[in-house]
């Protein structure tokens, strides 16, 4: 596993979370990300908020 994704910091982990909206992550990236999320509540919050932003934007498109 490349060193740069072996031990993720929040900067790198959050980028991968965002990147996952654009392209499928590699097995190494997924593994490293999971390990980080198990320990990091802030990035777990960010992951949920990304999902919310996605749903919210879709709804914004059609209006109510």
């Amino acid at each position: 596993m490349p060193a740069e994704i072996e031990d993720l910091n929040c900067r790198r982990a959050s980028f991968l979370l965002s990147l996952a909206c654009e392209r499928p992550l590699s097995a190494d990236e997924v593994r490293a990300l999971k390990a980080h999320l198990d320990e990091c509540l802030m990035c777990t919050n960010f992951e949920q908020q990304l999902r919310f932003l996605h749903d919210c934007s879709k709804k914004f498109r059609t209006g109510t």
């Binding site: 929040c10 980028f15 919050n45 949920q48 919310f52 932003l53 919210c56 498109r61 209006g63």
Partner: protein, 199 residues
Amino acid sequence: MPRASATDPRAEIESHRPYLVRYALAQLRDAELAEEAVQEALVAALESIDGFDKRSTLRTWLTSILRFKVIDIQRRIVAERQRLPYDEAGAAAEHEAWLDEMFDETGHWRSPPQAWNDPEAALEQARFWEVFERCLARLPATGGRVFFKREVLGEDTPVICRDEGITDSNCWVILHRARILLRMCLEQHWFGTEASDAR
């Protein structure tokens, strides 16, 4: 989202103007042309409001009219000059560095994402959509445009990057940056306030 009385179609159509301007701006990258497209679309919509059959939402219907106006203007632009100028070409190189403002030197969040209280409930609040629109408007020009195309319109990332004339990796950083900024703005103006708990 702001709603006007059903008896006044003009006001109801008008309430969608900020969204429509944002849509036109994402396609045309020019405030004046975007205004022109929206103005023409709103006039056309008022003239044919009887044709709105309510099978879609009013916003979706207005957007479909606007789409044609945008295409007209794009054709005209292509005829007038070969290519639209890219407004922030020089900014691309600084995008990685911009993330320095969001994370400290060890890569930790400077403004850590908090848990949001019942985000789904926010979607039902008209006031929330006003905040969402304001936060979208505050994004940097490129970030706002790319985010709008990707998340609101659901366009494919490679297509967006190509149209913007930027590399995939710059595109990813721009999107990441826009999402963090939007998240911070919503947390500051909605989820982090007592108001969101009281609703």
